[in-house]
Amino acid sequence: MNKKKSIFQLLTEKPWETDQIEADNDHEGRTVNITKQKLGLRTIMAASTVLFSLFIVAYSDRMLVNDWRNMPEPWLLWFNTGILILSSIVFHQTTKYAEKEIFDKTKNCLYLIGFLAYSFLIGQLIVWYQLINTGYYATSNVANAFFYLFTTIHGLHIIGGIYFWGKTTSKFIKRSLKKEDINNLIDICAVYWHFLLAVWLVLFGLMLSS
Amino acid sequence: MIVALSIFLITIGSIAFHFWSPWWWTEVASNWGNMDDTILLTFWITGAVFVAICFFVAYCVWKFSYKKERRAEYKPEDKKLESRLTWATAIGVAALLAPGLVVWNQYVTVPENAYKVEVFAYQWGWKYRLPGKDNILGKTDIKYINDDNPFGLILEDPNGKDDLLVDADELHVLKDRPVKFELRTIDVLHNFYVPQFRGKMDMVPGIITYYWLTPTRVGDFEVLCAEYCGTGHYAMRGRVIVDEEKDYKKWEAKQITFEKMLAKSQNNDNLQLVKKDK
């Protein structure tokens, strides 16, 4: 990447013209100056955002029908939200430790994140258990169905995150990668964690406000 | 040579097929002849483009076929030509769109003096309901549907009492009077379609959809379901008969009201409910 160009400048280049040929010949062959893993994560996040946005659109549309009965919000959901916020903060800290190459602290932080992620999932399962026991089935009202659907899809995203957290942590502990590479991976996981927190806050806010 | 010739012949053949094949639309029987006009307009514009481009391709293939010693022209782009073509296309497209939107506006705006008919669809058949003397269709609900009340009229709604129920697949409509079809289905999607009327609208469970038309000639037309609705979709037919006033009255007189229908049935509770509400 030689110079920053806007998308419009890029698309109006005339590749057959002499001046352009000269400028193009030493182009690196990359469009943006970040690692492929980071760009991959952004692509996935964009697709996920569309997915969740469509769920939200469906939710808002379905909400207007008069058979809608709101669900109670168990206090445990607030607790789980807290766990998620905490794990995001810890992950942010982890990237800083990793950057400064403080091995022990980074390692402990990574473990803590795993613990928090699992706690969040277990917490969500307990919420499900409570709701089902008090008669809020998915079939009894579509608001409940949306709640179970949202938490499932979000939970699956978390499980995907845990898989990559596991791979990253084991690579970090074995020290099998170069410093830049492992930091790159930790950064990516951290961004994903923040993304999932944001998604959860939006979904939770939506369910609270309706 | 063969290639150029066949593209040329395909184009000529398409034109010939268009003008001389026996397959064309049925004679229109409603006020929506202007839909046919929009189709014709589209035909002329797109047909001209089709012929022009195909001839151009055929000419190029014939004229510029491969010769080893010849070189193709080197011309990456021609801004002027491209912008002219873009504008010409935009104008052509606008010429198609504008009349289309005008007619659509008419299609979705029901005239004040239209009388209402409910078309009732189920898997797989048609029934109809007329508003009766008070000109108001009584409210309905899926929960009320049972053997005695096949249309699911809400018993407590007084407007439903005098509704005429046509428990058959044949509907009569008046010639030269605008009619608004209120479309209701109790199960899956259907679509009330009479080819000669041109109009069409899906019927969606949970909501009432509509469209309107003015029949313009007396006749007996077949009703088809035009939205796939399961195994019996192809057999879901009915009839619409366009009548002059006199014949229409005769037919109307034969239909029974909701109240009478309940009276005929064994279950008197329903009837009590309707009467009491009066």
Partner: protein
Amino acid sequence: MSDENDHKLEAKSDYVADAPSVSTPDIDAVPEAELPDQELYHSHSWWTTYVFSQDAKYIGIQYALTAIGTGLLGLVLSWLMRIQLAFPGLGWLEPSSYYQFVTMHGMIMVVYLLTALFLGGFGNLLIPLMCGARDMAFPYVNMLSYWAFVVAVLVLLASFFVPGGPTGAGWTLYPPQAITAGTPGYNGGIILMLISLILFVAGFTMGGLNYIITVLQLRARGMTLMRMPLTIWGIFTATVLAMFAFPALLVGCLMMTLDSLLGTSFFMPAMVSLGETLTHEGGSPILFQHLFWFFGHPEVYIVALPAFGIVSDLLSVHSRKTIFGYRMMVWAIVGIGALSFFVWAHHMYVSGMNPWFGFFFATTTLIIAVPTAIKVYNWILTLWRGNIQLSLPMLFSLGFIVTFLNGGLTGLFLGNVTVDVPLSDTYFVVAHFHMVMGIAPILVIFGAIYHWYPLITGRMMDETLGKIHFWITFLGSYAIYFPMHYQGFVGVPRRYFEIYDSPYIDTSTLLLNKFITIAVLIVGAAQLLFLYNLFASARLGKKSEKNPWKANSLEWQTPQMPPEHGNWGKELPKVYRWPYDFSVPGAKEDYIPQNQPPSEIIGAKVEKT
């Protein structure tokens, strides 16, 4: 950029001005790569080489063969349906099997053949080669993508063997009909269909991630975005569309699965199904339609854009001429892609949605006709004053222009809201979409296979068989779908198992149906010829020279042909020009490969435009 490089640039800049005299090695200079070469996965066993391959070329071929195999099933299903339509007296199909075949035919052709073949097949094969990469960005994920596709296909096929058979809901799967008792396969087949689609979306997302990252980040040095062949632009834009459109299908499928399995009411309203009142309440069938077409309309372009791109390259190479209006072509691809998300409800003019949407969607739909028309103009202007070789790929490209033009123009009928009212849900629609997204893209696929076959196998496909195949396919399919429009005018509704007792339908319409069916059988049989050619030529075909079509793009410039693992031998290629330098004035040959250094082609002059 360092100062040293600036220097070299200056030296290079005058090579065109007084070209014949200058021939310093400097003009080829390109600064050293700052990025490390890609690490590759090297297979160790037969299994990891041929089955669980991580080489994009193999994955592409695997994708293509699986898709073609599934597509053959779709073809056979279409035969069975057409025989029923032409000879209803035979009584050899039940209505329920007819509807199951209609559904499976539609879904297989749109998703499992066309989408998988264009993006999975051609995407995997061509992206790394045309961009000058060694492989995809994430080869392992790429392999998973293919196997997810295989599982999706198997689940789909399994639905033929469950009680009740595959779903007969129509490929649009509209609820409530898709999951209620009046439709064949409403409790078994539909679930497998939905699961299969969910798997397909998951698999595709993994593949799509690869295509996007590879195109954006792993191109050869000198390969700017505006030097990419239009094939890559088409596949890339289609992939981006798919990444944003498939989530809508996923949402629809997930919610419908729950409606069916758990009895929730996302899409299911209160209803009486065949006399039985169901427990659902309040759901909105139209919501599903919006979700479906928010995926479904971009899906049309997911199939069309790669075809646009590929056909542009075929036309350019085989008429030995620069593609006309490259920039306009790129803008049209990107523009069509962006607009395709704002036109979905033109499938729903008579769906019962708020009729005022009709104004908006008719307008956006006709606007999208403008960039599409520009593409057609540019294709035919590429032919103008070209040097047209009537090779097989060129024949199929010409066939594409005629059929796509025809199908595109009938799109103007259906997109214009009023004109759509009498024509919607009739055979006019069937004829339109088969012409525009069935025949046209498939002709491109054939052209592309004839074109790139030597790259894959090192041999040419048989020309005579190919020509017979072309003429039968092209003329035959035109004979099938052109008259079919007129059945639509008559008012023959689609998805009718039989209709001939209707008073307004002339017996001649049945005659037309017979004609169409016979054409279908012949065209279908001609595909066997193609298959024979495809497999036999791999062993018997004439050995191909390197770069047999004298093309410029990178995939033909690999050190070995067919390219080996890692594609480029020791050193990655360097790109010095765009891929459309055909018939450059002053050059010795009528083509200049993208990686040919300027020092080797002195004398070529390019006019300013």
